[in-house]
């Protein structure tokens, strides 16, 4: 069974994969950040931001950028 955080990491990487065609990592990050803002609950956003601040190693580059956008 995955923990809540593991699940969030899988989800965000999946969103990136599905939005990356023909995009630069920045564009993918924009699309991903918009998606997270629209559909993720506050607590989920906090957790992924916290994860990026502490570790973030399992996030794809575009996912990292997206989470940075969320944080900023």
């Amino acid at each position: 069974m995955k923990t809540q955080l593991e699940q969030l990491i899988v989800m965000i990487n999946q969103i990136v994969d599905n939005n990356s065609y023909g995009n630069t990592p920045e564009q993918t990050a924009d699309a991903t950040a918009v998606h997270l803002k629209k559909f993720w609950a506050r607590s989920m956003k906090h957790q992924i931001i916290e994860y990026l601040e502490q570790d973030g190693s399992e996030l794809q580059p575009a996912a990292k950028l997206a989470v940075q956008q969320l944080a900023g």
Binding site: M11, N18, K38
Partner: protein, 967 residues
């Protein structure tokens, strides 16, 4: 004399009532003709039969073999009339009315002929009218009266079938051949209306006999128990068992089926508060008088002994239940929910609205959560079925709903069915589609399984793209690739209706060689040539429509696939008129409605995002509270948060998340982690076994409200019996809200609908008065579309221009490996309904009393499996055991099961893989291994123990006297 304008004189057809049988179907012609029948001038559309024209003017010609849902047949001759200038006495049912015709329906010659005919019929018919179950509802009896039959000269000893044996094999109706008059209405109903062709008549005339299949009994034949033949039969030959047992109903109420998303209208025919039979209502625009076995017959669960009728509470799930008053149960729930929020924070509780309940009830639950709990942690079971539809259609076409009426399929030239099994899951639509296929429309099926639609009797042309589970997007991209590269696009439509930037971007993407059928063949397992043929057929057909189901949405790329479907429809110009469109076939009766009503955590009612300040402000004003502008948790997120200890309380109305959600062991653990679980349901469902408060729910027969079907059609649900628990579901939510300190005060669901109309731009024109007037309304219904919108996107899209979306194929992480070499996919069957809580409590059990695993012969051989063996099925998530059925409906490497019985544990093996955009679980693809075993899995054994214990707790609660608890 002053000529007074009488609109009836222009076209009598406009005044036809759904409550009368006019003998033959209406004509669709726009040319009017006038004739004179018995001295009355009658104007009707060209092509109307003399019989129908007369009946429209209330001149009722005797008839036996005619019925207005069947083509005229002309066998009984009872309907003979005299036409000026014509020889003989033609049958009025088969004679088209003509301009200037003069018809007499009554004279001595006709009377004598009719009496003679009736005499013949009666000489071969038992004379037990007084004790016959059809007494009071028999057309033969009526006709004997109408023609004035007084004597029968032929005697009863000739060749007859008076001693024919009864066929009682079907649990719901009886076939008593001794009463058959060989009118063939049943045979024609089975063919023309239902499309099954299960019945045959061995010759024409008085001595012919009816039989199911090749002289089998009904249960053993092809019959799917839709009941169309029973309804068509003018005598007691085919009759509902309940009518035999209880006698004729005395009043009826029009209401809406609570099973699937077709949303059939029924007349609930009643004796006092008891439903005697459900008769599909001709005036219902979704079903036009047809139904399936579930809606017509499987209503007995409403009065089943397992119904929860008293509120109960307990402190923890290892305790017996305790019966308490409504007030006490509600107070107990409210106190615990409040305490939880105080301890763990505002966001630590949430709720689930039901796609089985009415719009009004769903609206109230999400309102309670947003306004009462003060967060947006609301979700609904659409999460696990059609959430990708909402996402994908909103992004591409601006509205989260299907674009057509069901009837529109009768104008389709090619029908593309993807990941749907309409003859089982949406049977009445399935029958309509089969009708169109018999008329020659081309069929393209995209499905890993050989579905029954492909064996439609009299099917003309069909292509089956039997893809590997999980490769939908690859297929739809390949189809679009062919459309674009072979110049089959509808350039006018695209230029006029779609955003050019998005289109150019998409076009560049889809043309890439990696999207060609040839390149995709390895991934999809579908031959490139078949794919090309299918694409051409769809694009060149004229009217191409797409119907899809959960085989599209329940994938890791569910949302992408929905967008891919929208792309294909837009590229071929198949949007905005009848016969085309994108049509999600919704699972449950009110999935569309529960989504419309704001059940999703990010959407207020009418798909208005919670972060939209203007929309939120309107809700805040109406509701008198401030609302959170951040989305809440979705169902799977709630489970994850519960396991992490952050989410502690839930209010679940009419929804069985413990059975229907994937990865059962994960769900069970999450439910066990809750401090307070309030379940409102009609039965002790799987979820309720983890609850602390059990509130009796009410069935659709016990409440007023509305359901919205897959066509966006809002239908009325009307109460026909008192709720067994004393309250309708909306009343219970109201009590809970009041106890939580957020006041709600509605006297009737119509007031809730008025509030919805005030707040939802697509509903501003909807009200109960308007529903009474129109029968049903398809939203949007507002100033722009005052009569509703049968077809959407006719002029433009709600977002202006349609948006093509780039839909890259991304392989699912759920792939077969050496450890899990097979792919499991899931589906459902006709007689059972979803988690089966209702249908398992009816005689529908006759058809399906356990879930089985279908295995391809070659996979079976490899593992030494034969039919009926016990199989252990293992996935990354868990293990369960089911019986094997060897079947060639899937390709090698794919196994298939249904999920109607909780003990079979189909969801123990489904994993947490889900759609990237909506978290809709990937039920349709799970990598598994299968092997022979000798005993139930460990999970099944512990399930059995837990179930036994919980049933015991319920029984203890039921036995006990209600007592006031000392807290």
């Amino acid at each position: 004399m002053i000529e007074i304008f009488d609109p009836k004189k222009q076209n009598l057809e406009l005044y036809a009532s759904p409550d009368k049988d006019y003998g033959t179907p209406p004509s669709q012609s726009e040319n009017m003709i006038s004739l004179i029948i018995d001295g009355t001038e009658i104007t009707v559309p060209e092509g109307t039969s003399v019989m129908r024209a007369a009946a429209l003017a209330d001149i009722n010609i005797p008839k036996l073999c005619a019925s207005d849902n069947l083509d005229a047949y002309g066998s009984c001759r009872l309907c003979a009339v005299q036409i000026e200038g014509r020889r003989g006495l033609p049958a009025s049912c088969t004679t088209p009315a003509e301009n200037g015709m003069k018809v007499s329906t009554q004279n001595d010659k006709l009377a004598k002929l009719r009496r003679n005919i009736m005499e013949l019929y009666i000489s071969d018919h038992p004379l037990d009218c007084l004790t016959c179950p059809a007494n009071g509802d028999c057309e033969l009896q009526d006709m004997a009266g109408a023609v004035g039959l007084r004597e029968v000269r032929y005697g009863f000893d000739g060749n007859n079938h008076l001693d024919a044996e009864k066929d009682t094999s079907n649990p719901y109706f009886t076939f008593d051949a001794s009463k058959c008059i060989a009118c063939s209405r049943c045979v024609r109903a089975c063919g023309e209306v239902q499309g099954t062709f299960a019945l045959t008549m061995d010759s024409r005339g008085f001595n012919s006999t009816i039989s199911a299949g090749q002289k089998e009994n009904f249960l053993g034949s092809e019959c799917v128990s839709c009941g169309a033949c029973v309804q068509a039969c003018p005598t007691a030959t085919l009759i509902e068992n309940k009518v035999i047992d209880k006698g004729q109903p005395e009043h009826s109420v029009v209401t809406t089926c609570a099973y699937c998303g077709v949303g059939c209208s029924f007349k609930a025919e009643m004796k006092g508060e008891e439903v005697i039979r459900m008769v599909p209502y001709k005036g219902g625009d979704a079903n036009m008088g047809h139904s399936c076995v579930k809606g017509r017959f499987a209503f007995g669960y409403a009065t089943h002994k397992d119904r929860i009728t008293e509120p109960m509470i307990r402190d923890s799930i290892d305790q017996p239940w305790q019966k308490v008053s409504w007030e006490e149960a509600i107070q107990f729930a409210a106190d615990k929910l409040k305490a939880t929020q105080e301890k763990y924070g505002r966001e630590s509780v949430g709720g689930i609205t039901s796609s089985r309940c009415t719009n009004e009830e769903t609206y109230l639950v999400q309102k309670l959560i947003r306004a009462g709990f003060g967060n947006n942690n609301t979700d609904t079971c659409a999460r696990v079925c059609h959430s990708p539809t909402g996402y994908g259609l909103k992004v591409t076409m601006g509205e989260a709903a299907g674009t057509q009426t069901f009837e529109s399929v009768l104008k389709s030239d090619a029908v593309l069915v993807i990941g749907a099994n309409p003859t089982d899951a949406h049977p009445v639509f399935g029958s309509l589609l089969r009708k169109r296929l018999r008329q020659g429309a081309k069929l393209i099926v995209v499905d890993p399984r050989e579905i029954d639609l492909l064996s439609t009797p009299h099917l003309k042309e069909a292509i089956h793209l039997q893809l590997r589970p999980g490769t939908n997007v690859a297929v739809v991209n390949a189809l679009a690739h062919v459309v674009v590269t072979e110049g089959l696009e509808d350039q006018d439509f695209i230029a006029k209706r779609c955003d050019d930037n998005d289109y150019q971007r998409w076009r560049a993407f889809i043309q890439q060689p990696e999207n060609s059928p040839e390149a995709m063949a390895d991934i999809t397992g579908v031959a490139a040539e078949d794919m090309r043929r299918a694409a051409r057929q769809f694009a060149e057909a004229g009217n191409g429509s797409i119907f899809y189901g959960l085989g599209v949405t329940e994938h890791s790329q569910g949302s992408t696939m929905v967008m891919g479907i929208a792309n294909l429809a837009m590229a071929t110009g198949n949007i905005g008129r009848e016969g085309v469109g994108v049509n999600p076939l919704r699972g449950q009766n009110n999935v569309q409605g529960s989504c419309d009503m704001g059940s999703f955590p990010h959407d207020l009612p009418g798909y208005q995002h919670v972060a939209d300040d203007d929309a939120r402000a309107r809700f805040e004003t109406e509701w008198g509270v401030s609302l959170d502008n951040e989305p809440g948790l979705r169902i799977p997120n709630m489970f994850d948060a519960a396991l992490a200890g952050q989410f502690k309380g839930m209010y679940v109305q009419g929804e069985d998340i413990a059975q229907s959600d994937p990865n059962t062991q994960h769900v069970y653990a999450a439910l066990r982690a809750l401090d307070i679980l309030v379940v409102q349901d009609i039965f002790l469902n799987e979820t309720a076994k983890f609850a602390h408060v059990l509130l009796p729910g009410s069935t659709f027969l016990e409440k007023d409200g509305t359901f919205t079907n897959a066509e966006r059609r809002i239908n009325r649900v009307r109460k026909v019996m008192t709720p067994l628990g004393g309250k309708q579901d909306w009343e219970v939510t109201m009590m809970l809200s009041n106890a939580l300190g957020y006041p709600m005060d509605y006297k009737h669901p119509s007031e809730i609908m008025d509030e919805i109309a005030r707040l939802t731009p697509t509903f501003t024109g909807v009200s109960y008065e308007k529903l009474e007037e129109m029968g049903s309304i398809q939203w949007p219904c507002n100033d722009q579309f005052p009569e509703g919108s049968p077809t959407m996107h006719v002029e433009d899209f709600p977002i202006g221009l349609g948006k093509f979306a780039v839909t890259q194929y991304v392989e699912t992480s759920e792939k077969s490996t050496s450890r899990f070499p097979l792919l499991l996919t899931t589906g459902r069957i006709l007689s059972q309904y979803n988690v089966g809580a209702q249908t398992r409590r009816t005689d529908n059990q006759y058809w399906h009393d356990e879930d089985v695993l279908e295995v391809h012969p070659s996979d079976a051989e490899l593992r030494g499996i034969s039919d009926g063996d016990w199989l252990g099925i293992t996935s990354r998530a868990g293990e369960t055991v089911m019986r094997a059925v060897i079947s060639e409906r899937m390709q090698p490497g794919v196994v298939y099961t249904t999920f109607h019985h909780p003990g079979s544990g189909a969801n123990v093996i489904t994993t947490d893989s889900s759609d990237w955009a909506t978290n809709c679980p990937e039920y349709k693809v799970t990598a598994v291994q299968v092997e022979k075993v000798t005993q139930p899995s460990e999970w099944q054994q512990s399930f059995k123990r837990f179930e036994t214990e919980q049933l015991e707790f319920l029984e203890q609660g039921r036995q006990q006297e209600e007592k006031v608890r000392v807290r």
